[in-house]
Symmetry: none
């Protein structure tokens, strides 16, 4: 029955990692990425510095964990939508909304999650940034839309990058300026611009 002990160990380990996650987010929020020291994370997680190093080989690895831990839920949720039965246009609308809600919820560690280079460095190959994942998902939907004949035949890669960047940029600015848009309104603006453009005339 080694399984019991194993289970227990795994459970404890995941509890510790959960504590680290919360501590790290707290520190990231309060001090920013460059102010996030192992000492502070340890203190905020309610454990000794050494214990952090029992859990993670080094700072890099700890940050990667925090990153994944924060990003994975969004990725999974959107994967559901992508694989779901909705039409392409509707899927995009839903995804844009999910992104916005996710970003607002994680405002505190925003930069870290979206575009941190420190973590990205070692991950570039695996493309696990939230942005990277988002782009791939949007590309899938754009292709679906083109196949279905509801979207023009555009450079899907470029358009996906534009959409994700725009969605992020929009929220980022709201944080920076302190103004917050209504979710519905923001999503609608994005949708209408990307679907129909802001020109007064129609594309021929």
């Amino acid at each position: 029955m080694a399984k019991l002990a194993e289970r227990r160990k795994e459970l404890l380990d995941s509890m510790m990692k959960e504590a680290v996650y919360e501590g790290a987010v707290q520190v990231l929020t309060q001090y920013g990425l460059s102010g996030t020291t192992m000492d502070r994370v340890a203190a905020a997680s309610g454990m000794a510095k050494g214990s952090l190093y029992n859990c993670f080989r080094n700072k890099q690895q700890l940050l990667e964990f925090v990153h994944d831990r924060a990003v994975t839920p969004l990725r999974l949720a959107i994967d559901q939508v992508v694989a779901g039965p909705l039409g392409a246009a509707e899927k995009l609308r839903v995804i844009i909304r999910m992104w916005r809600e996710y970003l607002v919820e994680h405002q505190a560690v925003f930069e870290f999650l979206i575009s941190d280079q420190t973590v990205k460095q070692r991950l570039r190959a695996t493309e696990q940034t939230a942005r990277d994942t988002g782009i791939r998902q949007v590309v899938t939907i754009l292709r679906q839309g083109i196949d279905e004949g509801v979207f023009r035949s555009v450079d899907v890669q470029a358009v996906a990058e534009m959409m994700i960047s725009a969605a992020i940029g929009l929220v980022e600015r709201e944080f920076a300026t302190g103004q917050r848009r209504e979710v519905d309104e923001a999503v609608e603006t994005m949708n209408s611009v990307f679907l129909y453009g802001f020109s007064a005339e129609h594309a021929s």
Copy 2:
């Protein structure tokens, strides 16, 4: 006449700052933001570390200067376009192209210029980021376009943010993935999407 001495002092000061700018960009390029130490900047600028501190109160201020010094030319050039005689749509096309060319040219210090938190921190109030400036300029043009009747009446603020974010995001991805788009092609894609959308049907 104290004026002469003053002039001389100012001249010397601006020459030193120019040297610092070039040294700093060199260091930023070679070592990245976190590897940019005062020692290295001093060495690359051909002056003593102490002299750096005669010129700038501290590192923060030095970085702010470098940031502004790098961003200002783009701002001025675009201001010319904004104030110029072109139609709104054409102005946007030109600006998008200018952004792209600027970003590509400054690839090395990209992150630092566009989204560095260290510098932004103390700067947020004064809105001097390249992104901030760009948004204001695009807003101006969007308003012109709406006035002229060539653009729909949209949330100019949001659309400007989306455009600038998309433009930056597009180039950023090119850096990250190592693929480079043709300028004309990239500009055209952005223009057509933002003006007409990617929907196959027309907006009613």
Copy 3:
């Protein structure tokens, strides 16, 4: 009968220590003295770190055990020779050869066995270094030789120290330079020099 339990306990204890010995030598070989951590020794010994501390008060004591465990066989083997029936000169020749073979065999943990200060520190009083033991044994033989009239009447202590140091030094250099001498040749050189010197004239 408590004696049975006692026996069992002793047996278990010595089995554990044997395991520790092998693990420690492995670690010493692979990581060097400074890389020999209790964690690694525990892992290599196939037991938990805590159990190491049930066996040995601390790291120092563990290392002392390993040291003795490694040195004792040589000491015992040489004791046999010393107590044996050979003539003094022949005994020296045999012993020099045994030393050489022992050192070559234990090359990996050489420094640790021969001259480690960390272990010696607390051990100096008890004279348990391989070197110390060797010197005492050679002294015994030198005295035998003088008694038998085959050796000159020399400062036996000094000569013994010189012989052991020379034997060790010779092998040490071979390790350092990577060249290996033939056993016979090396032993012969040592013997002829120590017995007859390298002067071209004879001692009067």
Copy 4:
């Protein structure tokens, strides 16, 4: 006249290094090699930790400096003897005496100077250990002696290694046991044994 400033700088630098040397020897003496931390060296040298790092790139380099600074004088002095007009046998006698006096004087940092692996590691190629140098010098003299016909034709490399090891070993034991031999007596014992051996019969 930049030369003046240069001179001054060099002078200051060498004064600092001298201070570091003395501080390091003090710490080495009191705490041993493994207890020699940069903090302690800085304190013992009367300067801040950071200043140590202005002088030496890292600990390794600092230790190498201390090592060389201590070993060089002996090497130079013996080089004089080697190149001098004495007969081979006499040169050996003088050198053995110089070694002994040097070792006694530097007792405190003995192990570090003679056989430290930490420093040797990166120096192995340049053969700058005191032992290495000594061996080379003795080899030179042995060859001279053989050429002059006063020494038998022996394996000079091996014999040199034996002599140096023996000389060091002798002193090392004196430190360990606390007994001190008379210089003349010790030198004479070494000389007679190495020149004529301790056999009662003569080499044929």
